[in-house]
Amino acid sequence: MPDSTTNSIIADPQNTSIDRLRLDGISKRFSGHVALNQVDLHVKPGEVHGLVGENGAGKSTLLNILSGVLSADSGNITIDGKVLNIKSPLQARTNGIAMIHQELQHVPELSVAQNMFLGRSITHMGGVLVNRKQQERVALEVLATLDPDINPSAPIRTLKVAQRQLIEIARALMEDAKVIAMDEPTSSLTPAEFQQLARLIEDLAGRGVSIIYVSHKMNEIFEVCTRATVLRDGQNIAVATLAETNAAGITASMVGRDLVEATHISHATKDPILEVTNLRRGKHVKDASFTLHRGEVLGIAGLVGAGRTELLRLIAGIDRPDAGTVHMHGKQVASNDPRAAISAGMGLLPEERKRDGIIRDRPVTSNVALPSFRLFSTLGLIRRKQIAATSLEILRDMDLRPLNIAKPIGTFSGGNQQKVIIGRWLAASADIMLFDEPTRGIDVGAKAEIYSLVEKLAAAGKAIIVVSSEMSELIRLADRVLVMSEGSITGELQGEKINEGAMLELAIASA
């Protein structure tokens, strides 16, 4: 194992005329389908370079090729002028390419230091025993510059997501990474944590490390990156210098058309359909009470950990409340019984789609019909044709791509999986829909589709709750916004009063 020297990291950071990393003419096909077609990506030393595009544009494939998970059919990867032949993730890492994955892969019970040295332990006693003390010393040294609060001997499960990300970055630094690719690094970070990450990225860039930053969030791209490469349908569309363009310009080149900023139209009535009274669970949800009306879109804002997801789960009967009641259509619904909530007309779109939403290996039709198989049965036998017809009708309307309802849901992109789960509740004729972070991890185009879908549902008289960490999303969608902080509803905003400043103020208020 070579000694860590910081020299190689800052090798000639001033000479920006030479690209640190060059991907030239990268092409990749998967069984006849072109994922990447002659794609280029050039990153200078110390540059933070955005990589943007809709889901399916080829970003992940490109990152997988860069990090050695996949190999390209053609094209070159060069670092500092040296052509690399990357055949495995290990080779990518030894050549100075580090990947920070969206879903961090750690062993939760092992310590911070053990995770950092996983697969390349520092040993003593002739290489037989792991030298934990030495590992922890080195880890402490590297972490000191990133976050001195992290204890290298603590189990990694005790760390927050933002800190776990730092562990990955620290690991990359230990390996003398020249290029760090970050795939959607902020998908589980709070705005404050993003600011910390942005400062760290700036610092790394100052030390000459090149960063590839993949994100759907335009404000982040504009805040941290200097240039961005736009991919669409596996092709290079543009390399934009961000100081010379704006979010609308980038978005337009991503989707290939202008997205019209729609204005909010309210379909809210005065007809109460859901009444939540003094719902309480531990420190997560404290005496929540509110009423939802037919045709209304109610937003719930708040910081990560404010208890928004927990509140939705109580309403949907997934967790047991300590106290409080839920009435739907004027009738009390049994608590902690998802089936009772569903048969009263409730549908939940969970935040963690993979964990709580989809049955990955089952076809779209089975995922759609899951809560309503009994309704789709005669004498105990499922009417498959009717399920197929209903699914096709609903999902064609939502523009499921590809519109192949016999395929396992796991093969679809996140946005399309989301459409299937929404379709599930339409097929079940739910009239109250709880959407928990409906556009998380979904690209711009699919986002706009989900927004217009929410509006269509409201217009059709459904009552909808939207929990979101993106304030622009709530401003766009909600007739009324409840703000939560530390488990309590700290305020309610309506109409004109729904804006970022007001929401933020209530979100950090203590009740």
Binding site: R355, D361, L370, A388, L403, N404, A406
Partner: protein, 324 residues
């Protein structure tokens, strides 16, 4: 996306193979084994021997069908052998005591169902691991049948019952017909009923299934009750054939059943499995033993061949899944 591709995709959605790709793979395996033994032994591919294979496979197939439903729903049932033994001694001692045969049969099926209910309830309501619960059941049900009989086989099964299970129905041995009917029932349950969808949903992603309103506890219990009842059916077939109920019968049945289900495409991670595949898996194991016996291969080597076949099947399965 243009209209032409949309149209073909819509057409695809309406079209469904009656026979999955994985089942096709199992079928190829079966054909290869048949071809090899037909070539090695002139007796193998003859009508009487094929019927013989089906009859020899019927008990394992019966157990494996229940096992498939349990595995698909994310569980495992190690207690099927002892459940069979308990059901066998219950049926046999009632018959010997002069209780009408249909009642004794019902009692055996009831005993199997109760054992399955007990397994399932501990797993669904006490939240215990299926492996551990049925490992406990393995000892528990064996002990009950040994205690009940004092460790001695129950002899004196009425000739009418023996004649029924050893007789023919529609030109085939009755046990084969019984298991075929059971396979048809299991296939219908798994592919045509809400319960079958629930088995696959709970095995595929239990939490998502619960949130979507699937009755998770009832689904799990149902799978174990199926397994218990089918163990009892297998026991009745064996009691009829042997004319006695030995409290030690059914030793290691669970392993043959798991092997048949796995060869047939059931994933021990849950959520996947095929009734047609399991039946073929049981016939593969049955014909392997039959063929090797015809060739006078020693029992030790038969065991060796069984192990090789199971591992080879899983290797092929994993290789094809990755490329597909």
């Amino acid at each position: 996306m243009n209209n032409a591709t949309n149209a073909t995709q819509t057409a695809k959605a309406g079209f469904k193979l009656p026979f999955g790709m994985r089942d096709f793979g199992t079928f190829i395996g079966l054909v290869i084994i048949f071809a090899v033994f037909s070539w090695l032994s002139p007796v193998f591919f003859t009508g009487p021997n094929l019927i013989n294979i089906l009859q020899q496979s019927s008990i394992n197939a019966c157990i494996a069908l229940g096992m498939t439903l349990v595995i698909v729903s994310g569980g495992i049932d190690l207690s099927v052998g002892p459940i069979a033994a308990l059901s066998a001694v219950v049926a046999a001692s009632l018959m010997v005591a002069g209780v009408p045969i249909p009642l004794a049969v019902m009692a055996a099926l009831g005993a199997g169902a109760l054992c399955g209910l007990f397994n399932g309830a501990l797993i669904a309501y006490a939240g215990l691991q299926p492996f551990i619960v049925t490992l406990g059941g393995l000892s528990l049900y064996r002990a009950l049948s040994l205690i009940y009989t004092g460790g001695n086989p129950v002899y004196g099964i009425p000739p009418e019952f023996r004649a029924f299970t050893n007789g023919d129905t529609l030109g085939l041995p009755t046990p084969v017909v019984i298991v075929a009917v059971i396979a048809l029932i299991c296939w219908t349950v798994l592919n045509k009923t809400p319960l079958g969808e629930y088995f696959m949903a709970v095995g595929g992603n239990q939490e998502a299934a619960r949130i979507a309103g699937v009755p998770v506890a009832r689904t799990k219990i149902s799978a174990f009750v199926f397994s218990g009842v089918l163990a009892a059916v297998a026991a009745l077939i064996l009691v009829g054939r042997l004319g006695a109920a030995d409290p030690t019968l059914g030793n290691l049945w669970e392993l043959d059943a798991i092997a048949a289900a796995a060869i047939g495409g059931a994933s021990l991670m849950g959520g996947k499995g095929s009734i047609v595949g399991t039946v073929m898996g049981a016939v593969i194991l049955g014909s392997l033993r039959n063929g090797l016996t015809l060739m006078n291969v020693q029992a030790f080597y038969q065991l060796l061949a069984t192990g090789i076949i199971i591992i080879a099947a899983m290797l092929i399965d994993s290789a094809t899944r990755k490329s597909g």
